[in-house]
């Protein structure tokens, strides 16, 4: 009896380990954070893009409407891809787009906007990337759907047509 139990236990242990690793193999290994819904936006000082005016974040997103805060940079290739979707979103007229220029050079950023169009109502700038860290962002491109100073949705990576319809459904 004793000799039969041991091989059974060994095979069982082997199979459990095998299934765990086999399942783990199929998991995405890109970390996606908990998308915290209804989270209040962090209180930060934002620097305006053209002028050196500083505004507290709560005073930017406080109106009774939807905002999309989009972190972008002229050196970021995926930002070019998502730009047409931002333009479409702006064309719908139901949402304010707030651009957040990340670790960029002013001239290059202006060229980018001149070339592809400006979907943003306001642009703020983050020269050294510290404001983005304090905001809790990962990098470029990244977008936050905000309503009454609360983050409703977060998109890490470029916005695609699927995200666009989702946003359009929310802001309808």
């Amino acid at each position: 009896m004793r000799f039969k139990i041991i091989p059974i236990i060994i095979t069982l242990v082997f199979f459990t380990i095998f299934t765990i690793f086999f399942k783990g193999l199929k998991n995405s290994n890109i970390y996606t954070p908990n998308i915290d819904l209804e989270k209040k936006i962090p209180s930060l000082v934002f620097k305006s893009f053209d002028t050196d005016v500083e505004i507290i974040s709560e005073n930017i997103f406080n109106k009774n409407k939807f905002y999309l805060m989009n972190i972008w940079a002229s050196w970021c290739i995926p930002c070019r891809e998502e730009h047409e979707f931002l333009m479409k979103l702006k064309a719908s007229g139901k949402i304010d787009l707030i651009g957040f220029n990340y670790k960029d050079n002013n001239d290059n950023a202006k060229k980018f906007i001149d070339e592809l169009g400006n979907p943003y109502d306001k642009i703020f700038t983050d020269r050294d990337g510290t404001s983005s860290i304090n905001w809790g962002a990962y990098g470029v491109p990244e977008s936050f759907l905000i309503y009454k100073n609360k983050i409703i949705k977060r998109y890490i990576g470029p916005i695609n047509s699927k995200n666009l319809t989702e946003i359009e459904n929310i802001i309808k």
């Binding site: 890109i30 970390y31 962090p42 990337g129 983005s132 990962y138 990098g139």
Partner: protein, 122 residues
């Protein structure tokens, strides 16, 4: 005499580095304990991604503001979740993780005791 004065001033200036060195040490220690979230398998310290570079800057700013190591960890945890820390905190989700090695250790002890001591007695 004049030479001695110059010599002492030079030594004093070189020693000023030590003051900053302490700060850099804690900064590096914190950066080594943080996972770079957008690069795989690297700490913030090792990484040269934009995210990691900014994060290092934030850490040094926080140290300048007088925040302790723990406070900086808490701050980053509130922003990015527990995943950013390499050392998992003891919580409901991680009991198993923390206690398993201890359990295995004791199980090993039991096996050794049974194999060697109890056999000898019988």
């Amino acid at each position: 005499m004049r030479l001695l004065q110059i010599f002492l001033i030079i030594i004093f200036i070189f020693n000023l580095n030590l003051l900053k060195a302490n700060e850099i040490q804690t900064e590096n220690k914190i950066a080594k304990n943080l996972r770079c979230l957008i690069c795989q398998g690297q700490s913030v310290y090792d990484s040269d991604s934009e995210f990691a570079l900014s994060l290092k800057l934030v850490i040094s700013n926080k140290i300048d503001e007088g925040m302790t190591e723990e406070q900086i960890y808490d701050f980053l945890k509130s922003k990015y979740g527990e995943w950013i820390l390499y050392d998992p905190v003891l919580s409901r989700n991680t009991y198993f993780l923390w206690l398993l090695p201890i359990l295995i250790f004791f199980a090993g002890g039991v096996i050794i005791v049974r194999k060697f001591y109890i056999k000898k007695q019988s």
